[in-house]
Symmetry: C2
Subunit: 205 residues, 2 copies
């Protein structure tokens, strides 16, 4: 039986770049099926009214340095300084949701994150959306169609529903990996989630 | 040249148990010197007025499950349900600071955390303090001496100073590992910190 991981994420999340950049290859290598499940944002899960990182804090400085160190270790491109919270992440997540039902979702999310971390154009920025959709293999006409439905009721409702399912599951941050009833939070725990899906236990250290 | 890691921690922290339980052996195996440096509490670093985990939240449930899974994987004892925020963690940290200058600090911190996670007696509880000091090898008379100076000005000032140094270094959570100018936050990053101390880079995944 193929083991499955629900990958819950919001495209406003910085750390999620590290998982998006290596998830498809890691899952393929382990023979695990991944369901990519976008949500609105982290605040919709936790009730928090502030973003997880605030300008001028030690935690914000640490986050960028930590991501840079790990991107280098993973061989993922990164071009600091990276902008934070610049684009319409809600729209980016609605487009990702549509993409998951049409098959181009993971490629769109990967391309969008590369735009953000290589070219400093944040997820949900109009240019990021167009370029990422083209890079995901959509034709120009399809790009226009996607952009024209991205603000529609159906995707709004779909993303709200997805977010509510995440919340009921116990997800409270991005990225999160869910294997059965076990939640693994943070890019650090990607390998643990895969190990749990394959072997029912954490990997040895 | 022996490489050094500053291990910043507060004994109010739950996740710190996972690091305390394996730090001495991991450092010994890697040939790294660890400076154990207690601080007052996380709020003194960040200005936060609430504890990092709140009753009834998904994050709190996740924290306990995550620690339980990882304790089992590390071979560390754990006996849920574990109490949270029950003892006087400030006093526990002052005693740890004294212990670091007298040589019994790491053994006290390890014994105290075992009291908390095996016997459900939180760090800083009077019984936890007595038992942990005895288990750390102090004689009864020394235990009485330590308890009698634990609330004195000198240790209060020392712990405040230590906390201020941590804050100036950019530490904002417990456990944190500092190697030169690099900060690694969280028990997840213990291996990364050791790898950085030994080889100047993150371990491969």
């Amino acid at each position: 039986m193929v083991q499955e991981i629900d990958f819950w994420f919001t495209m406003g999340s910085t750390y999620t770049y590290l998982s998006v950049g290596r998830l498809r290859e890691a899952a393929r290598a382990a023979g695990v099926l991944v369901n990519w499940r976008p949500i609105r944002n982290v605040g919709s899960l936790t009730g928090a009214t502030q973003p997880p990182f605030l300008d001028g804090t030690a935690k914000m400085r640490y986050m960028w340095r930590d991501i840079e160190r790990r991107a280098l270790a993973y061989g993922l491109p990164i071009n600091p300084p990276i902008p934070y919270l610049g684009g319409d992440r809600f729209k980016a997540n609605r487009i990702a949701l549509l993409g998951m039902s049409e098959g181009w979702g993971p490629a769109y999310v990967e391309a969008a994150y590369r735009q953000w971390f290589e070219n400093r154009i944040p997820n949900g920025d109009p240019e990021n959306i167009r370029v990422a959709l083209l890079q995901a293999g959509l034709h120009q006409a399809d790009v226009e169609r996607v952009i024209s439905v991205a603000d529609g009721d159906e995707l709004h409702k779909g993303l709200d529903q997805s977010t509510e399912t995440a919340r009921e599951t116990g997800v409270f941050g991005s990225p999160s990996f869910v294997v059965g009833s076990e939640i693994f939070w943070g890019d650090d725990h990607l390998e643990d989630a895969i190990s749990w899906a394959v072997a029912g236990q954490l990997r040895p250290r």
